[in-house]
């Protein structure tokens, strides 16, 4: 997926929304900037399929040698699929965070939150904090 076509949370998750027969499906991952900041990833806890997630709330966690970070859902809805192979191959997040490194797919409830950032706005935020 093209990083410039994605929307971002200020907590460094990305989301790509498609329309499937009138139902919005969101694919969620974490940004290259987040992966670079975390470095040395050792563990990821995925949500379970069928779980409800809420925009802005924790849905999983990622752990590096140094620390544990929560993963926050960009959207509200129901988890319909998770990237089962990812926790055993976290290196994918270094090479391909926006496609092979996806984390979960969510059947979106309601409208997308208004506070998601486009690529340029997200890059500006990373520039300020990085």
């Amino acid at each position: 997926m093209n990083a410039e076509a994605l929307l971002y949370c200020d907590t460094h998750e990305w989301v790509f929304v498609t329309d499937e027969d009138g139902q919005q499906i969101a694919t969620v991952g974490i940004s290259a900037f987040a992966v670079e900041q975390l470095t040395d990833l050792v563990y990821m806890e995925l949500p379970t399929v069928g779980a409800a997630v809420t925009g802005g709330e924790e849905f999983g966690e990622v752990e590096s040698v140094k620390a544990v970070s929560a993963l926050y859902s960009p959207v509200s809805g129901t988890v319909i699929e998770v990237n089962e192979g990812l926790p055993d191959n976290l290196d994918i997040l270094n090479s391909d965070p926006y496609s092979a490194g996806w984390i979960m797919k969510v059947k979106v409830d309601g409208a997308l939150p208004a506070n998601l950032l486009d690529y340029d706005a997200y890059q500006r935020q990373c520039g300020e904090s990085g």
Partner: protein, 380 residues
Amino acid sequence: MNEAAPSNPSQTALFQWHVAQDARMVDFAGWEMPIQYTSIVEEHQATRNNVTLFDVSHMGRLRFNGDGAGALLDRMLTRSVSDMQVGQVRYSLICNHEGGILDDVLVYHLETPSGTRYFLLVVNASNRNKIIQWIEAQWPDEAAVELCDRTLETSMLAIQGPKALETVEPLLSIQVSGMKYFHAKVTNQMNKPCIVSRTGYTGEDGVELIIRKDQTAHILQNILAAGRKFDISPAGLGARDTLRLEAAMPLYGHELNESINPLEAGLGFAVSWQDGQGNDRDFIGRDALADLQSAGLQKRRVGLQLEGRRAAREGYSVLRAGQPIGTVTSGTYSPTLERPISMAYVDLQYAEVGTEVEVDIRGKSVSATVCCLPFYKRTG
């Protein structure tokens, strides 16, 4: 720390160099220090396999001059100091009157090229001001001792790893490979005194250099040039932490603090009750430690081996049948062992190696086993 961190953190002589290396800088005990240059795991492995260079100039360096220095330090430290040979280095603790640990230190007995003998204390950055105040408050009026805080006039570099001695040997006028571990010598670098010690905080062989601040950049370049054939690279505080944790070395503020005593911390080897002649020693904290020992200890520092990949980190509860029996003080994923490792204090009855316990990892109970320390010991 007793004091608020200064609003402007101190910078070491290599601050600009760290920034130029693209290091991630953090405020550590009032100093702007590199936490990592590339990745903690890479820097950790480079230390275990080759050689790395750490800027440890934030550590406090306190020099004690004068005839009364040995006697003063004998009273301050849990190990005897005045019987040290010139060139010896000892690990010791400084306790308060209750036996709580104020700091863990290295004490060096040194002699300048002109023949003046003195002692040097290397203290934790976070405790430097506290220790200076503590020692000054205990100063006997008649003591012929002068305390010089040399921290800001000097730098300290640690060269660590199996190739560390080969890296520094050509640069020095002394043969470090002929020096024993925990020994030190004052030598010259560009006609300026340089303290060379075979010490470190990584569990590997290595050398630490204390040099004049204005020589730091030059000596750094010499070390990097000499280490190039061994792929020398800089390593930051992140790798320093994972390395020392594998080696089960305690870190002040984590395994050690003023409400922990040396016996619970498993540092009884660093308490000498008697001097070299077999006479009882008098040092601050002795009476309290003797009482604690005869009353029996309550808890003990242990290693924990965990299942899975999630590390039990500082502050997590250690449980047995759901009941709290202790607390994790440090934990990480071990790059060498490729599994999570932790140190914790647990109630004495659960401190036996092999005891099955659980750790509450963010609400989930994970099985753990009390294991032998250290987690890693170098061979050879």
